[in-house]
Symmetry: C2
């Protein structure tokens, strides 16, 4: 798209993603106060690298995965190019940070964040950024959601409405006719204003993630809860697994492109429950989740 996009661009973006990964890991370890992330550095076929960081069974975080991946591929798989079939089979590179946090406490929402840069080689390289972040609460507090969306708005500015709407569209379980969570930001094929401007935009979003999530984690992680809340959390995590396994394009792409399965599926819940005809009482907080919070609305 512009002359300036080349291997050096990939390096710049990768360095940013890796520094963001470190920042997020430090923050989550501090919040957990007990457990640390495991460290692996895995060479991938074609000369790429996968740097998974996973925290398991912490005091406050049941599972967090913060993954950096730089993929180098000889031939682009189908799932990546459904909308651009002319690119199928071409050599490509992708660099990405991807994270999920499954907290112990049902009052802390789980979250997902992903930022990626994608380039198909050639005389005129085709590239774009993609990503975003979204929040999946079980027992939401309205003020937390307003804070989440306000932070997302501050990071994305004039683009917020569009990215918020795309997030609501994408994270939707059509078979349940239900939103996955309360949304956030989602963008794909992002080339707006060329590489420099797009990269700045992506950095603004990346830098805003902890501002959006940490205050909520910090404020709710010691909230008292019982069997009922835990049970509902495990049940709702089933919905999350349904989305990731049956719907998510990123997961399909990851599995098709032969990426390491443990990394691709690290997002799946540490523990999840499928209860047939789960009983939801009228006017309960559990009903309010689906009837009020998961209905897309203007939060700010």
């Amino acid at each position: 798209m512009t002359q300036t996009v080349n291997d050096h661009s990939i390096k710049l973006v990768s360095e940013y993603f890796k520094s963001l990964q470190n920042k997020i890991i430090s923050c989550l370890e501090e919040e957990d106060a007990v457990s640390q992330f495991s460290i692996e550095n895995i060479a991938t076929p074609g000369g790429g690298v996968s740097q998974p960081r996973v925290l398991s069974e912490g005091k406050h975080i049941e599972k967090a995965a913060v993954m950096f991946t730089h993929s180098i591929g000889a031939t682009l798989p189908d799932a990546a190019t459904e909308r651009k079939p002319e690119l199928t089979g071409k050599p490509f590179q992708a660099t990405a940070i991807s994270l999920i946090v499954h907290p112990n406490n049902p009052y802390v929402p789980m979250t997902h964040m992903n930022l990626r840069f994608f380039i198909v080689s050639g005389d005129e390289p085709t590239w774009h950024f993609g990503g975003g972040y979204d929040l999946t609460p079980y027992y939401p507090f309205e003020e937390d959601i307003i804070h989440w969306h306000t932070t997302a708005f501050n990071a994305s500015g004039e683009h917020y409405r569009k990215l918020k709407a795309e997030c609501d569209d994408y994270f939707y379980l059509s078979h349940r006719q239900e939103a996955r969570g309360i949304g956030g930001l989602f963008f794909d094929d992002w080339v707006e204003g060329g590489f420099e401007k797009s990269f700045s935009f992506v950095k603004a979003i990346g830098d805003s993630f902890l501002k959006a999530y940490q205050p909520i984690l910090s404020k709710r992680k010691d909230q008292t809860f019982g069997e009922r809340e835990r049970d509902f959390q495990l049940f709702r995590r089933g919905r999350y697994a349904e989305f990731n396994l049956a719907i998510d394009r990123g997961t399909k792409y990851g599995l098709q492109s032969g990426r390491r399965v443990e990394s691709v599926l690290a997002s799946l819940p540490p523990l999840a429950k499928w209860t047939y005809n789960y009983p939801i009482e009228p006017n309960s907080p559990e009903e309010k989740l689906t009837e009020y919070f998961l209905v897309p609305k203007d939060w700010i």
Copy 2:
């Protein structure tokens, strides 16, 4: 395919499926000795009926779903006709019994069975049977697996080799390069010898299911187990959820055709675990599961 296949055929098959459903339910309730199946009779769009029977949190059975469904559809959805695109959009009927059993005890394998009759209306109706059964153990006993496959062989006779091979092919998690279980029987597009003969074949398979499963359930349900075995069972159930949500054609068809989601996804495990880099000790029973039992072989 033959003049004799009509609404009366659907009725005959439905009656057999419903009597088999009752037989299986009685047997499972007797084995559980504590819990009963819930009973629902739900009219479905187009004049069909769904009769889900679900047992939850029993003494020996953590979740069992034995579903009878008669679907009547105005237009055949895509997923049903990937191999026969010329049928897309035509009116159809399908009658089916489908079951899963998730036992409490990790020494009892979980199982899945499905039998279905499918007919596309028209001057020359197109019809076929499909189905089979398979077993997914966590800590298998070789004698149980030999019993399972011997029973399957006795029911399917000369067709056993083919149906066993198709089962191994179908229940395979390509992203894990791993079989879902130790197999059984699988057939689709079955019209062999015309309606009468095909129906007899399907009845022989249906009638053999309890002979195959009940002795294993009965023999292993009181086996002592600990945290380790329970943990591994929950972890392996994650694989089952991966298959059903990301791979299974029946699930895709069910969700696409607008069938009741609670019925379609009743197969999902009551509780499942995704542990990153699950530690498998060399020469452990857990290693033996994947390295020996889940490698397709001739069991009889």
